[in-house]
Symmetry: C2
Subunit: 187 residues, 2 copies
DNA sequence: TGACTTTCGGACCATGAGTCCAGATTTACG
DNA sequence: CGTAAATCTGGACTCATGGTCCGAAAGTCA
């Protein structure tokens, strides 16, 4: 049932074009059933997102590949954000639908990403000023808005350029110590 | 006419609650007239935004106060972003309506902000790697999404904390030279 | 088989953006 | 002025879409 919806989103040119009626039809099921199962459009999108994101979650939490404990937090963070980037591009229509609805920031999935990101940042920085960790985590994720990414891609930035700039930014957000920052500002 | 709409947005608790019918009624005008004047809801929002943003535009382009040529680009950028922050908070409902609609990134107003931001960054950095200026400009602005700001405010970060973190980030985006960055990464 | 419960599906409702045209208002002109 | 043409106005109407609801179908048990 989710698969049918997923296919529809993947094929459609815009997420707004995928109506609940269309999804119900694609599942050869009544609209009532669809709504009984997911409660609302948002619920359906959430459920879809959940199935998609489980792979990410698993690889991060089971500490394999670039996420083993020995790897520098900076590198784990960079790898994590890069993973999210490709994930979003792979599911751009679904993600677009999610990010245009209100309340993504409250969604458990976003909250999870935020927590992971903040964790890596905290590991990487010493004891940063109050709020900086959370701010940096939020803004790193904000740089991954699908709309923004696609706009950059459509305006001449290559995916690799974006990747590099993002990595650069990660090191800046995490790798610089407070004292480095202070000497920098003082000049 | 725009004033009436503005008042409605300011009073309503959510921008979705402000319907075109309501605006037409508040203007004591027919819906037809409203649509003839602005073309669509998006057009109306845009027109409203334009009137609001003109003040910002003027102060930045006329080079007064924190925007005189002598001021460091970093400081001008920080001042600019801070201005946008307060501007967005002052007009949160309107801005929310804009940012939830698709295509803000294409809007001339956003493009203007992007240009100004990128200009300051370029002034402040030497000759950064291809695409970094644009990337940094985009992501600095992305950190100002009203939804994000309000979420942070609702989760214990004070406005001053956000301001400080933002300033910090500006200096990192602009103030660090390429060689500083490289020695940093190498460690 | 027959009474009772659960689930299904699509007709139906509510809402809000955008259209359209009959009438009002203004302009043009003799 | 008076009248005809041109323009403008407002709100009734269409249309799309998320969400509800109820009669029917299917399942369950004795």
């Amino acid at each position: 049932m989710l698969e049918a919806a997923d296919t529809l989103f993947a094929q459609a040119d815009g997420p707004e074009r995928v109506t609940m009626d269309a999804i119900a039809a694609a599942c050869s099921v009544g609209k009532g059933t669809l709504f009984r199962a997911f409660g609302s459009r948002a619920g359906l999108l959430d459920a879809l997102w959940a199935t998609k994101i489980d792979a990410l979650r698993a690889s991060v939490e089971s500490g394999v590949a670039p996420f083993r404990q020995e790897t520098l937090p900076q590198q784990r963070l960079a790898a994590f954000l890069d993973l999210i980037l490709t994930f979003k591009l792979d599911n751009r229509h679904l993600i677009r639908a999610l990010e245009f609805g209100p309340g993504i920031l409250q969604s458990p999935h976003y909250r999870w990403m935020l927590g992971v990101t903040a964790g890596f940042i905290e590991e990487g920085m010493g004891s940063p000023p109050e709020g900086v960790v959370l701010y940096n985590a939020h803004t790193l994720l904000a740089a991954l808005h699908i709309d923004l990414i696609e706009d950059m891609l459509a305006n001449g930035l290559s995916l690799d350029t974006i990747r590099e700039a993002q990595a650069r930014r990660v090191y800046m957000a995490v790798g610089i110590t407070e004292s480095d920052y202070k000497t920098l500002v003082r000049t």
